[in-house]
């Protein structure tokens, strides 16, 4: 899996973040974040734990509120207006470290629920869409099981299918493989690579550097709530500029 996925990136801005700051109480988590993601771009965000990378992507669909600056997603500015927030959330898919499937619903119901209630799609059509995406992530046969009966890798793939059912234009990944056993990481990463090949705009927080090399257009390194370095993956890994990046890379690639 070393061939770099090639895709053209459009000039249209998918996510625009300007001068964004966030505090948890008095703790300054995100400091003056400026970041533009174009449509079709695949961004990998990495950095030591506590560097604010998860908080950054959680701000993009308003799971966390930012206190100053501007976030524009798909042309809509994120404000406290609940209508904007709901609109952006239905356009942006989100994957979590712990999958967060709904344990009281079957796999199929997990995938159809939001289509039926948010998009007002008739049940039959929603089920068809759900089966389409479950086939795409290669687990259509599990449709009538409950999440608790699936392995971690399968659950994360269901979570991907569940997001895709809403036909999102942007996908956010918050450490999608870090709760998985090693042999399951590959099946999830393969699914994500397929998504990238389909031209999905992706913002991925991950420690999978192989994935970053292969898929990302840009790698962003964060430390202490700020963007320290960003570059194309080849340059980023082979020729890091900042000392903190060098230290981080030597720690995660050194063993």
């Amino acid at each position: 899996m070393n061939e770099q996925v090639k895709l053209t990136v459009s000039d249209e801005v998918a996510i625009g973040i300007q001068g964004m700051n966030k505090w948890f109480g008095s703790f300054h988590v995100l400091r003056d974040i400026d970041l533009t993601v174009n449509r079709g771009e695949r961004i990998v965000v990495c950095g030591p734990s506590g560097s604010g990378k998860s908080t950054l992507i959680r701000c993009v669909n308003a799971l966390e509120e930012h206190q100053s600056g501007q976030i524009i997603v798909d042309g809509t500015e994120l404000t406290s207006d609940i209508k904007n927030v709901d609109k952006i959330r239905s356009e942006v898919g989100m994957l979590f470290q712990h999958f967060n499937l709904f344990p009281h619903l079957t796999i199929l119901e997990n995938c159809t629920l939001a289509q039926i209630w948010v998009r007002k799609i008739p049940q039959a059509e929603a089920e068809e869409t759900a089966m389409h995406f479950l086939t795409k992530v290669k687990i259509p046969e599990q449709a009538n099981k409950y999440p608790g009966q699936l392995s971690g890798g399968q659950q994360q793939r269901v979570a991907i299918a569940r997001s895709l059912c809403m036909r999102p234009r942007i996908m956010l990944f918050d450490e999608p493989t870090s709760a998985l056993d090693p042999e399951m990481i590959k099946e999830v990463l393969d699914t994500m690579i397929e998504l990238a090949e389909d031209g999905m705009t992706m913002m991925v927080v991950t420690h999978e550097m192989g994935f970053a090399r292969q898929v990302a257009n840009r790698v962003i390194f964060m430390d202490e709530g700020q963007i320290v370095e960003q570059n194309e993956p080849k340059e980023f890994f082979n020729n890091p500029k900042s000392d903190r990046t060098k230290l981080f890379l030597s720690q995660i690639l050194g063993h």
């Binding site: 669909n61 942006v92 948010v118």
Partner: protein
């Protein structure tokens, strides 16, 4: 061993064999559960002896029981010095125990039918597998039950139902734009319906009417079931709303809920009942008479809902925050994520607690005997034990009351255990 050879290959698999007798069936069970050690063996023998003496001691009392007598004197005469129960009181005072002493005897069929219909109305609520159309009857049932128990013209419950239906319809129609607008329009339309319907039913008091029975004539087990059923069924939704309100980010709603829950939980039920009985009347205009039963129902509902709110809050707190985030990130709004994602899981966790509180409530309905209402216990303490015929027949009467409550509460608890197993989806 001459050689220490590490390599080993099995060519034939060993066949499965039957375990020895001591590891099978009854013998194994008895050995493991009753006689696993000398101490346990002694305890087993001791327990058997205790159980035997209890049965041997109490059996004659049951077996010699007198079922046909008109007073406790007659019972003793029939027993003639032998120890035995005087069950005749149950037989002779049966209608009083069940319906109280004032409910007209010709109308007993009404509470009977109401109770039967209650089972029909509860069935689709309790068992998800039954066809959903049956729920329509469950919605009509409260109005029907009111008419059957209290009597009067059928126009009253019909108007109440139509007003309710119109209100719900308007709420559905307008709440798609704004929730508050839906609530306001719904309440206004329903009130208009009730106002005009009120005049209509007052003018036609004899239209399809059953003999009216005033609330103060209700009594016996019927009163307990009436109070318990209404208080439980209203307080569960109310408790859920209180629990959600307590978590609200809107400070006024949050504080109203917190103060309500903490106040009600901090006060004994019996004080609330006295308040309902005596003090509440001062708060209403002099010529309005809110029925005592209604006042008691309101207090019991408040009391139960405060406890249920805390149980549900525990369920809500037990859910990982990821569930809220996943629901939000899919674009579900607050009402949808609560109804479809959060509450189904939180309530499942809360089932044992909700049932616990509700069973307690059902038993606490006997407290109304203290504010001189004649429920099952009130009937026993008052009109039955105080008569000269049945003075002193404590064991039979209170034993019977205990048995009735035990059967009802035990069934509820069995149902809740069954429901928990039904809702179990994960194999954690």
């Amino acid at each position: 061993m001459a050689e220490n050879n590490a390599s080993f290959v099995r060519h034939e698999l060993i066949k499965e064999q039957v375990p020895p007798v001591s590891e099978r069936g009854l013998v194994k069970w008895v050995r493991e559960n009753l006689f696993s050690s000398p101490f346990n063996a002694i305890m087993t023998v001791l327990s058997l002896w205790v159980i035997y003496s209890i049965i041997a001691g109490s059996a004659p009392w049951f077996i010699n029981g007198v079922w046909n007598a008109s007073s406790v004197r007659e019972c003793y005469d029939i027993l003639d010095g032998v120890s035995g129960a005087c069950f005749a009181v149950l037989k002779e005072r049966f209608p009083q125990l069940i319906y109280g002493f004032k409910y007209p005897a010709t109308e007993y069929w009404r509470p009977n039918i109401t109770t039967l219909l209650l089972l029909v109305a509860l069935a689709p609520v309790l068992f998800r597998k039954l066809p959903r159309q049956l729920l329509a009857f469950s919605i009509i049932y409260p109005f029907l039950a009111y008419w059957l128990i209290w009597g009067g013209t059928i126009l009253v419950p019909v108007v109440a139902f139509l007003g309710f239906a119109a209100g719900v319809y308007c709420f559905r129609r307008f709440s798609t734009n704004a929730f508050a607008l839906g609530v306001i329009v719904g309440v206004i339309v329903a009130s208009i319906f009730w106002l005009f319907g009120g005049y209509l039913s007052e003018a036609n008091e004899t239209f399809l009417s059953l003999q009216a029975v005033p609330s103060r004539d209700m009594g016996g087990l019927m009163l307990n079931l009436l109070l318990g059923t209404i208080a439980c069924s209203v307080s569960i939704p109310l408790g859920i709303f209180l629990a959600l309100g307590r978590q609200s980010s809107m400070p006024i709603i949050k504080w109203i809920c917190v103060v309500f829950i903490e106040f009600i939980r901090g006060v004994p039920l019996i004080t609330l009942l006295f308040v309902a009985n005596v003090i509440l009347a001062f708060f209403f205009p002099p010529d309005t008479s809110i029925d005592l039963i209604l006042r008691v129902i309101i207090m019991m509902t408040f009391f139960n809902s405060a406890y249920i709110a805390e149980v549900v809050r525990g369920g809500l707190a037990a859910l990982p925050s990821g569930q809220y985030e996943a629901a939000n990130s899919l674009g579900l709004d607050y009402a949808q994520s609560m109804r479809l994602i959060i509450l189904p899981q939180a309530l499942k966790i809360s089932i044992p607690g909700i049932v616990n509180v509700s069973v307690g409530m059902l038993k606490d309905t006997t407290l109304v005997s203290i504010i001189s209402m004649f429920d099952l216990v009130g009937m026993i303490r008052g009109p039955i034990l105080s008569t000269s015929e049945w003075n002193g027949v404590y064991w039979e009467l209170f034993g019977c009351a205990a048995a009735i409550f035990f059967v009802v509460c035990f069934s509820i608890s069995k149902y809740s255990q069954w429901l928990e197993r039904q809702l179990e989806t994960s194999n954690r």
